[in-house]
């Protein structure tokens, strides 16, 4: 847990570096993509807006064109020609109402026409409605539409938007189309035709085709005056200021759009009217979905980052997991347990590393085993040395006895004892072999018993009962003598009665069992426990124990060393009842185990 949180581990280092790098990459990419998207959206919106704007201009144009067609038709109408040509037209009873009917037909066909008037050069005027009265307070000859129509005879004049006050009591916002009407006969200018269009229609067009919540359109004429502005009053009182300079530049020199603060201006010009329709779009309307766009980009970034993060994690743990396993196994060396790595899932390099490690560990294991064997050998040889040592007390006691018997001129006994001693040594040497036939071992113990019997002068008797099958089987040499020695010194010597040592041998299921039993003082439970503890102690502890039972322990240990832990000595004893020590070891002939 702690390991992966510190920067020191391979995994966290790989992970952090990868993460930082990938994050930077995603970040830069997102930023670029976002910027690009914003630009694209803006450009697309502006392009779309231009299409809408062109649509608007086309509609205005077609509107004006429709009016022109009407004015064309009216100007060549024979009745009107007659009206204009006549000297006293209003006296001709049928003429005026006829023309008014014709004009009314046009007005009714096109609901966007507010009025059609025909004016003679003498200012007498024919209105479309009989009830309409010409405003007596206005000077027609000063009106733009009139004098320009007269000046440019024959041309259609399209006015800017204005309040028409020619009909008394009525003020209406119109755009006027006016033209001089020439006589079809002599081509002389006879009058002026005025077609007033309801400006509301253009207004509605401009206000319906807007972009977004706040966008608006306005119209400028060729001199930069407002034909229409949705908030004209703000413009005229300077509360809202449109950048007329750059806009004028835009339609004079061409260009797509002009940006001021958060507003985009686009201009589309109409050839028929010489008007310039300006469309205004607000930035906030262009990118309305900005918040969600931002959210989507962040989300994509987050998901990408999570996926890549997970992948990085997988990759880094793929590298470090086998390494960590290797590390764990290698740590087992510390505890003395040499575990092998074996086959692992990892890259080639790690696998090679594991293989080399396994080879190394195997070699170390072999070396250690060899070392252990050597140690055992050494201990065995130590024991040999030990057993080779003849208890010097025994030797000089025996020699004392011989001397004493010599002085007593008991030459027969001297010979008997000396030959027993000689046999004892010969067998105990036995050409350095460890294993000897059981009958030789019996010889050995008999020699010992002979010497002791003579020394202690009928203090004890001994009896040997041996399965005849046993005699040729092998035994670890000097197995019985220490047990007999123990029986004499710690059992019989202390007893008041004559002692009896019985040695029996049996063979059962390839296990040889020899028993040395005495009828001496026996051991109390404390002593017995001591002895048993001594048998089970390790060689290191043994050196710290007293010499009592040393011989017995040596026998036990040597048997276990040679034949394995399941063999060895078993002691039984009770105070006053003597002691019995049983030796168990596997039956075998010859020196196979050597």
């Amino acid at each position: 847990m702690k390991r992966s949180l510190t920067f020191g581990t391979l995994e966290s280092r790989i992970y952090t570096i990868f993460t930082v790098m990938i994050f930077s990459a995603i970040f830069v990419m997102q930023l670029v993509a976002f910027r690009y998207t914003v630009d694209t959206v803006r450009t697309t919106t502006i392009d779309n807006n231009r299409v809408v704007l062109q649509q608007l201009v086309k509609q205005i144009d077609s509107y004006i064109t429709g009016m022109e067609q009407i004015s064309d038709a009216v100007s060549v109408d024979p009745e009107i020609q007659k009206f204009l040509g006549s000297d006293s037209p209003f006296e001709d009873e049928g003429l005026s109402p006829g023309i008014q009917r014709t004009i009314n037909n046009y007005i009714q066909a096109r609901e966007d026409i507010s009025d059609i008037l025909i004016m003679r050069m003498d200012r007498s005027t024919l209105t479309s409605h009989t009830d309409d009265r010409i405003n007596p307070w206005t000077a027609i000859q000063d009106k733009d539409w009139f004098y320009r129509a007269v000046e440019e005879a024959g041309q259609t004049i399209v006015s800017s938007s204005y309040v028409q006050n020619i009909i008394w009591g009525r003020y209406s916002w119109v755009v006027s189309l006016s033209r001089g009407i020439k006589s079809l006969e002599d081509g002389a200018l006879k009058g002026v035709l005025l077609v007033d269009l309801k400006f509301n229609r253009i207004r509605e067009l401009c206000e319906s085709l807007v972009i977004g919540q706040k966008g608006y359109n306005f119209i400028l004429d060729d001199r930069g005056n407002y034909v229409f502005h949705p908030t004209q009053q703000l413009v005229y009182s300077d509360i809202r200021v449109e950048p007329l300079g750059p806009i004028t530049e835009l339609f004079q020199e061409g260009g797509t759009w002009y940006q001021e603060e958060d507003r985009y201006y686009m201009v589309e010009s109409s050839d028929i009217t010489d008007w310039h329709v300006v469309s205004v779009v607000y930035e906030s309307d262009i990118i309305t979905e900005w918040k969600s766009l931002q959210l989507i980009y962040t989300l994509i970034g987050l998901i990408l980052f999570l996926i890549v993060g997970m992948a990085t994690n997988k990759v880094s743990s793929g590298i470090t997991k086998p390494v960590r396993r290797l590390q764990d196994i290698m740590q087992s060396v510390e505890t003395g347990e040499f575990r092998l790595v074996g086959e692992i899932k990892a890259t080639d390099e790690i696998r090679a590393l594991a293989r080399e490690y396994d080879i190394m560990v195997t070699r170390i294991r072999e070396l250690m085993e060899a070392n252990v064997r050597e140690q055992e050998q050494k201990r065995k040889s130590d024991l040999k040395a030990l057993q080779a040592q003849i208890n010097p007390h025994f030797l000089y006691n025996t020699l004392d006895s011989i001397i004493w018997m010599g002085e007593m001129k008991q030459s027969e006994k001297v010979v008997q004892m000396t030959s027993a001693l000689s046999k004892l040594f010969r067998i105990s040497i036995s050409k350095g072999r460890e294993l000897i036939p059981i009958h030789q071992e019996l010889e050995h113990v008999k020699s010992y018993l002979t010497i002791q019997e003579m020394r202690y002068q009928d203090k004890f008797l001994y009896d040997i009962h041996m399965d005849p099958d046993l005699l040729d089987l092998t035994i670890l040499k000097i197995t019985l003598q220490p047990l007999v020695e123990n029986a004499i010194y710690h059992g019989i010597k202390e007893a008041d009665h004559q002692g009896m040592i019985t040695i029996t041998g049996t063979l059962e299921e390839n296990v040889v069992t020899l028993e040395v039993r005495d009828n001496g003082v026996g051991m109390d439970s404390g002593q017995l426990a001591n002895l048993i503890a001594g048998l089970q102690s390790s060689p290191e502890e043994r050196s710290r124990m007293n010499r009592q039972g040393l011989g017995v322990r040596n026998v036990h240990e040597r048997i276990r060393l040679y034949f394995g832990g399941e063999y060895g000595l078993v002691c039984r004893s009770a105070p006053g009842e003597g002691t019995s020590i049983t030796v168990r070891f596997p039956a075998c002939s010859g020196e196979v185990l050597q």
């Binding site: 930023l31 307070w137 309040v163 006050n165 207004r203 009053q233 703000l234 958060d262 906030s284 962040t298």
Partner: protein
């Protein structure tokens, strides 16, 4: 443990991304957050087309509300003289706890209590066209009526120079409304009290104005001119003068720009009219409300200005939209 690592890093990354994008966005354009809540607008009169002035105010209100994303509700009494009714409306509007109230006070004094009550409840008030006798309103958007009155008075004085009878009377609309008080004061300042016969009130009713004028034309033979202080008063005066056949003989200076007034102006019955900018008034009051609600500073007094219109300049391009507002086609 690794999950924790990833999660934390990812969250940090997302946060950084979001913040940077936000900063990035801010650098290209400022985001306009619309002010919260509803702005309650109480006008003096709610009659509609008959009172052109207020419908144009409403137009300005609508355009500004669209531009600044303001939610609004308009209410008001049917007629300007229904002062009690306006007080009732104001009180019920306060109960709705709007974010701001725009009030065109029908009475200079009697609305003070309501305005102060709104202030006590934390509702800011902006007065429009006619103020109240209180410091409470955060802004007052109106024509400088004193100046408008001076304009009217000075025009009358100019016209009087070639006129034999110099006496002038004032036809005011409502006695206690701020517009009437200021305009009258302005007229008196420009003409001098000695030239003024007196002030009459018509309760913003054209017929009353007509009757009073007809009566006064007979009573005061030395009368040379009449100043009408609002649309209704002016129309009554003009009609009375015209009907008495005294067009040109009695000089009339009017206020406002009803269609009939403009006809009278063309005809020569009315010689000049002082026109306010109701559209700008509506627009600027809502703009001030939006500014105030967004925490901006608002000028305590906004003069929307007035224009003197005569027969000569009435069809000039810059005044056409002012005099002949196109109403009823706005969305």
């Amino acid at each position: 443990m690794k999950k924790w690592y990833i999660l934390m890093l990812s969250l940090v990354a997302a946060l950084v991304l979001f913040m940077v994008l936000a900063v990035f966005y801010d650098s290209t354009s400022r985001e306009i957050t619309p002010p919260e809540g509803t702005v309650e607008i109480i006008l003096k009169s709610n009659v509609g087309p008959a009172m052109d002035f207020w419908s144009v105010v409403v137009q300005g209100i609508q355009d500004a509300a669209r531009e600044f994303d303001v939610d609004y509700e308009i209410s008001g009494p049917r007629f300007e003289k229904e002062i009690n009714r306006q007080i009732n409306i104001m009180d019920s509007v306060i109960q709705k706890k709007p974010s701001l109230i725009i009030l065109a006070a029908a009475d200079y004094v009697r609305l003070v209590d309501s305005v102060e009550q709104a202030e006590a409840l934390g509702i800011p008030v902006i007065t429009l066209d006619s103020g109240v006798k209180s410091d409470v309103p955060v802004s007052f958007v109106a024509t400088d009526n004193l100046e408008a009155g001076i304009k009217a008075g000075e025009e009358m004085r100019r016209l009087m120079e070639n006129h034999e009878r110099k006496k002038v009377l004032i036809m005011s609309h409502i006695a206690e409304t701020a517009t009437a008080i200021d305009r009258e004061r302005g007229v008196r300042m420009a003409l001098g009290d000695e030239n003024i016969i007196g002030t009459w009130f018509c309760d913003a009713d054209e017929d009353i104005s007509y009757r009073i004028t007809t009566d006064l034309l007979q009573k005061h033979p030395d009368l040379g001119g009449i100043v009408g202080l609002n649309e209704m008063a002016s129309l009554g005066v003009a009609r009375a003068v015209n009907d008495a056949g005294r067009k040109g003989d009695i000089l009339v200076v009017a206020f406002d720009n009803a269609v009939q007034e403009l006809s009278f102006l063309e005809e020569g019955v009315i010689h000049a009219t002082v026109v306010q900018r109701p559209y700008n008034m509506g627009y600027l009051s809502v703009k001030a409300a939006a500014d105030y609600l967004k925490g901006g500073t608002v000028a305590p007094l906004m003069d929307t200005g007035s224009v003197l219109i005569t027969k000569e300049n009435m069809f000039e391009r810059q005044y056409q939209e002012l005099l002949f507002p196109v109403s009823g086609i706005k969305k």
